[in-house]
Symmetry: C2
Subunit: 191 residues, 2 copies
DNA sequence: GGAGTTGGCTAATGATATTAGCTTTACGGC
DNA sequence: GCCGTAAAGCTAATATCATTAGCCAACTCC
């Protein structure tokens, strides 16, 4: 049997591609093995199992997303940065519907690359808030609010929770505009 | 063999309880059958299969959530209504961690009860917006924004995406306060 | 009390994931 | 070049889950 020449990286990358084609839920070791031209158990030479694959995939796609968010915000500030980052976020989810769910898995503390990717992603959002002069607890709260709004919208949209596409674009635009307003006049924390 | 006396309702209700105990992902026909004291294939006398069970479960829990949201907003207006509803929303997710994910499944158009439950849930949110005098497209956009913020926060929290619980309470409070501000000065749609 | 409906069962099939253990390829050192 | 070994592939076996088919017993209703 000629060797295919796989390694962990090629396996995880192919998993990302496959996820985009068939959906995150349908990403299965069996399908992945078939795609790579290999028998299912052979994958265990490169990943510890299905859970480990999901974790490595999460590390990969979180890093991708972090890079795109950072790039979008680079050279911009305030509302410009916010809008650019928000657009990049939703755009990533649209281009990579199967990868996107993997970005929401909490980083595995034992995988430095995963942890670093997560920090970069949150850091990109955090950086945008500097333009709104939010610091300390306020910055933490605002980061969470922004993540919630973006992730919530994107995941509801992906689930088909909204209506017509055209209208959805407008709604997202308005959501981002409303976040801009919120961040400009961030409510005082009473504790 | 003595009959257990199941019907669709008892099966779906038990599925909801089981989901809260073991998690939505771990809700399996096998586990449910075991819990009900019945062999797995017997469940097919009451539900068409795993997908149908998930759909019926969604109808049940969406109705529950809609009822709680409606009750929370009743007799209140404006910011009061918003805060009460937001608290009820997160509270439901905390009390029913296994049911909550099922609330996000898009209603099955062929199941009138499911559709009605979905409409009531969105209607509850929509009603809160009356206090902010938002109508037409603005109300649609604002409803989506509010759903996104609440669902995003709750699902990130459930996934363990945030840190210390105490801090998370504060962040949610601030998120809701910021939504109140946004809704008061909802940005003009430029189209 | 019997007929029919229905709720339970067992058995069989097919995905999927996982583990064990075998074989052969590739490659580095001599 | 040869040989030893680590690693990459394989088959086989096991377990869990979902699904379908077909059987049988228990309620129900006249």
């Amino acid at each position: 049997m000629p060797r295919v020449g796989l390694n962990q990286q090629t396996v995880v990358r192919e998993a990302a591609r496959l996820a985009d084609e068939v959906g995150y839920q349908q990403l299965t070791l069996a399908a992945l093995a078939g795609r790579l031209g290999v028998a299912l158990p052979s994958l265990y030479k490169h990943v510890r199992g299905a859970d480990a694959l999901a974790q490595k995939l999460s590390a990969l796609v979180t890093a991708e997303l972090a890079t795109e968010l950072t790039a979008a915000a680079a050279g911009r500030a305030g509302g410009d940065a916010l809008r650019a980052m928000a657009d990049a976020y939703r755009d990533y989810a649209h281009r990579h519907p199967g990868r996107y769910p993997a970005t929401q898995q909490v980083p595995d503390p034992t995988d430095p690359e995963h942890v670093e990717a997560g920090e970069r992603a949150v850091g990109a959002i955090f950086a945008v808030l500097r333009g709104y002069e939010l610091t300390g607890e306020d910055a933490v709260d605002a980061t969470r609010a922004l993540r919630s709004a973006l992730h919530g919208f994107v995941s509801l949209e992906a689930a088909g929770g909204f209506g017509l596409p055209r209208e959805v674009d407008r709604s997202y635009h308005q959501l981002v505009a409303s976040m801009d307003i919120s961040l400009r006049s961030w409510p005082a924390s009473d504790r």
